[in-house]
């Protein structure tokens, strides 16, 4: 299953909370919360959101075989 590019809006929507659905992949949950704490401090600066989106995508690429990652790719990130 293809992991969408970092420019796919789903990544930033997950980070900003615009996408209300929660990821199944636990690493993503923890990473998103850490990012939100930082992004809140800089008022969701667009460059920082893009950088975090690329890192979030990287988590999914590195764990692409995990059942929860596949689930997210099929539901949240399709």
């Amino acid at each position: 299953m293809q992991v969408p590019p970092a420019t796919h809006p789903s990544w930033s929507d997950l980070l900003t909370g615009k996408k209300a659905q929660q990821p199944a992949f636990m690493a993503a949950r923890m990473f998103i919360v850490r990012c939100r704490m930082e992004l809140t401090k800089n008022k969701f600066n667009a460059d920082e959101v893009r950088k975090s989106a690329a890192q979030l995508r990287d988590l999914y690429v590195k764990n692409a075989d995990c059942p929860s990652v596949k689930q997210d790719l099929a539901t949240l990130l399709s």
Partner: protein
Amino acid sequence: MRDHMFTVQEVEALIHRGDGLLLAGQEPLLRRLPRGNWIGGTIPYFMAGEGGIVDHERIFVHELPFGLRCQGVRRYGSGDIDRVYADLPADGFGVIIMPATSPVHLAFALGAPNFDQFAARPLVGWVSGVHLDDLGTKSPKVFDGTTGEALEEKAVVMHVSVPKGKVAELGVLNIFREGNGPAINFLSSGFSAKEVEVDGKRQNFAQYIKKNGLDTRLPLVADYCGTPINVSYQAVDDANGEVFFYAPVYAGMPYRHAAPVGDYVTEFTSQLPKDLGQRTAFSCNCILNFLYSNLEGKKTANIACPITFGEIAYQLLNQTMAYVTIDSV
């Protein structure tokens, strides 16, 4: 259910076989073991086949199942623990053990989410401890089995490779949920707090706990995108108005006092994913669950694991069972 409790002689035989072993037991037992592909930590509390036990004579053994292999053991101190995620093998995961209250424990607890490559690969593990009667007189330790050394100020990490066609995934089982009370916001991150904001009103947290009669055996709970993550209370110092925790609270993260739970074993069993016992390569559960829920002599389904002073699933957790499962791709 596999047997996990072994005598020193039996563990020696397993070590000589050469397979990777994850060990937990009392310090004198671990000191007697030969060198080999193992890491260990001190603790005398376990969930075993016979239920919750305190055992000073045997060692708890997680043998690496499902074709997993030990790829080596690394050590980290407080100065280089920030590399722990970046160093993890691309085709596997890491199992970490760190001594409670050591500098590396504190550095990891506070800093992990900001370390390079945080959560890029699975990191699971636990915080070693001592029998509660020995608090203050004995120090928690970890062991690097490749040298046989006992370490008080370093974390040990076993790199574990996963065979082709299999995948490792971390999970947690936490019976606690956010209660209906107000959100509690901390003004700074750390293992203790004096002032908090509750409903926008700044107040002393120790006084707030007393005034509201909060049961501090229940943790604070934060919502990590649907995963409840606990921070447990260590002590409330009324005289100095300070509250201490077993894991750091983070400024900018709203917490709520946990809702009361009924019977731990019933709740635990009802939340346990089906067949988890058959798919689990490693698990650990918290000493506070063991103590507050009187787990000695009780069984928690078919889960066997060391009972620990802190659990790690990517980052430090409290009052939670952490585990890693191996599934076919």
